[in-house]
Symmetry: C2
Subunit: 461 residues, 2 copies
């Protein structure tokens, strides 16, 4: 199927002690021999073992490029299922580049993003769900995201879908049974059993679908809106939270940072802080437009940090401000935390503040980082996510949409039952449902879908 | 000797398809068993093979951290000479971090920079020269730098020094022979043989020492000064050269870029471009100070690009300018190239310009990148460095200084011969010379020297 042999650097971009160059395809072993001139390796490759590790010199004619370890994997005992070779070379820019160039000379081409995993999928080493999980695993910055992806890679989600599939096929058998008798024009009066099977399938589908909102939070971080009038210390608070964790944040590649959002990982949970424009009453149309956007952002947030400058606001004003603010928010279940900021400028802590506004309040100084740990504890506790690698959690919009279509097909069957639609039409909905579930694991798929999926992989995977 | 077991990420920093975690020391195998719970691995480790490769699950109790390949190397058949393990895991931030944390739990500590190679040296797997070459190989961006470091790692330099050592020991034997007879108070009148051996040693030492200037150029790039009056297009030229090669430059980690110097690799040769302050006659003390600095920088350069704006300068002026400039340069062997810039603003090319100034001239437009390839060709051709991996080239100031001290000891012996100094005093100089040569390969060394050497390594090597 895949006649071309591919190669790629598989380690992170840059210079390091060791780099890995990966080769997969029919010509892998031949290339390994040609660039290493190692009799021991040649002998091993011609032997009967499924894999091995040799110390070799990588040479271009007489030029020694490196002395390094080389691992080989005989088809189908490799990641891709094809003959594969991994070279563990010194991680210099020059060596990485030169070995790749050498392989290109030997009729091997550079792999596209995700091409190794795509071949693993094509060769039946994993289904599409597992293949997608590989990219998720590599992108995981937190334990929750990692566990969800690991469950998916190990086939947890696939086996959930397999169960659904089995139930659907059972259901299909019952439908076929009806069809066999359909010429006799008898309709089964009692569809209790069928309805029960269907209800079961629907409830499983819903459970999976519902996990998507959690999955979204795990993947993109818990959205926390930072709200308040201008100059109450919103940016200072964000910086205080970011600074504390800068070492962690800067270590995570791929952390998206635009002007408005910052991701901070605290206790292994990622929080997506949304800095919002200042809120104030105004008649200016354009400014009101900005405030509308702010409210939309707040609607998306799970947690709202409402900051006030405790020195510049009377308790009455704060109370009114908050009540105004909450009237504009549609979801009353959102967690509100009032940040009574700038206590460094106060002479004494106003202890009755909390009772007054009847909301969880933290008295703090964002500037001096006073009580910032208290805020962090509250955030972490309100976001407890007990995800272990046994749970299936949807994180992918493609899966969500397919499940949604599968659910629609189930709804159609319920409707058909109600409206006494002919059984052969119901059979079409069953097939439809199976199709959408099959599209998740890749049993049915198109090249466009595959291209879209694998293009988000990194090179070398 | 080294009771502690160490671990480290060995691949470049960041996220990628695969990362390598390296473990070395007595507890490596035990730790590998503890974090993988693999019966197959345990059996393999208890077997008789020197190395092996297993597919394992990395687990923290019941949490699966990753499914990956694990290679093991039995002492002394490893890089360090100790029992060693390499884990080839998925290259996510979370997995890399979590496996390291798991190892720390099992009483393994993080390796210091260069500690794996330091152990390889301590366990006699390589001498100090070879160990130092490992860091040089990783830092190599060009073929020349790579070949020099590869020769050193493969023991080329060590064997040159071994030859010197043998000659010195032969010489020492002749000295001892004299000493045996010294009680009889006879001095050997004919020291021709000894002098010849000594001359040989000295010439070898000088050859090695002389290679240092080439080594320096290979390691740090060929210094090229860009000189000219203000606004003739110096920065535009530099940017044109940089832009053309940006893809390459940005791929090379560790490329030093300060305000004044930029390294560009062209045809595998690195050029260090030194942008200098504009030159003009002035009475201002401070400005003259700046011009002094400029001239010092020009003295360091091997090649000088002298730029003029061809539209604003008459041929007479250019001629005078150049003659002024060259009077201020002490080394007349420097390569001069005149860049007649801004030809895009000219109506016709002044063809007699070249004869007039009697210097290699390139008519170009830095802005439009016209004729920039011509300049690049001239630079590359004037810098042909035919370094293959058989040549020993000194790139390290430590080696240079030790050779200088060894040479001084040889000079002392010549002096002693001349002044008829007693043979037992000459024997001290011979020992001194042997000591300095031994300090290069690490036969004699101090902890301070070792610390200084290995601290410049990257983590994981």
């Amino acid at each position: 199927m895949h006649s071309e042999t591919i190669c790629s650097i598989a380690t992170p971009n840059g210079t390091g002690a060791i780099a890995i160059i990966r080769i997969s395809g029919e010509k892998s072993f031949e290339a390994a021999k040609k660039i290493s001139f190692s009799k021991k390796l040649s002998k091993a490759l011609e032997g009967h073992l499924n894999r091995g590790l040799e110390f070799v010199q990588i040479k271009d004619e007489n030029d020694i490029i490196d002395e390094c370890l080389l691992a080989w994997f005989r088809s189908p005992h490799s990641y891709t299922g094809e003959d594969s070779v991994e070279i563990y070379c010194h991680g210099s820019y020059y060596i990485q580049k030169t070995i790749l160039e050498l392989l290109l000379k030997h009729d091997i081409r550079l792999a596209k993003a995700g091409e190794f995993t795509m071949r693993a999928f094509a060769n039946g080493k994993m289904d599409l769900l597992q293949a997608e999980a590989v990219a998720d695993i590599i992108a995981s910055n937190t334990q929750a995201a990692h566990n969800v992806a690991m469950n998916q890679m190990r086939g947890g989600f696939s086996s959930d879908l397999q169960k659904l599939r089995t139930q659907l096929i059972d259901f299909s058998a019952l439908i076929e049974l009806e069809l066999d008798f359909s010429e006799e024009d008898i309709e089964f009066a009692d569809r209790t059993q069928m309805t029960n099977v269907l209800k079961n399938i629907k409830s499983e589908l819903l459970k999976l679908k519902e996990s998507f909102s959690l999955g979204n939070v795990i993947k993109n971080g818990i959205p926390v809106a930072i709200v308040g009038k201008p100059n109450v210390g919103k940016s200072t608070l964000l910086n205080a939270l970011l600074n504390e964790e800068r070492a962690i944040v800067s270590n995570i590649p791929g952390t998206t940072r635009d002007a408005l959002e910052d991701v901070v990982i605290m206790n292994g949970i990622s929080f997506r802080f949304i800095d919002t424009a200042g809120l104030r009453k105004t008649d200016d149309t354009i400014e009101n437009l900005g405030i509308d956007i702010t409210y939309k952002k707040i609607e998306q947030a799970d947690i709202v940090l409402y900051i006030v400058d405790i020195n510049k606001t009377s308790f009455d004003e704060i109370s009114e401000e908050l009540s105004d603010f909450r009237q504009n928010i549609s979801n009353p279940d959102k967690k509100f935390i009032v940040i009574a900021n700038k206590i460094d400028l106060l002479n004494q802590t106003p202890s009755h503040f909390k009772d007054f506004v009847n909301i969880e309040t933290i008295f703090m100084s964002a500037k001096r980082k006073e009580n910032i740990q208290e805020l962090k504890d509250i955030l972490v506790n309100s976001a407890k996510m007990d995800i272990n690698s046994e749970n299936t959690v949807l994180t992918n919009i493609r899966h969500f949409e397919s499940l949604q279509k599968a659910e629609q097909a189930i709804e159609n069957i319920f409707e058909a039952f109600k409206n006494k639609i002919p059984t052969d039409l119901i059979a079409i909905d069953v097939k439809d449902c199976l199709y959408h579930i099959g599209s998740i694991t890749g049993e049915v798929t198109s090249n466009d879908v595959l291209d879209a999926i694998f293009s988000r992989f990194c090179i070398g995977k």
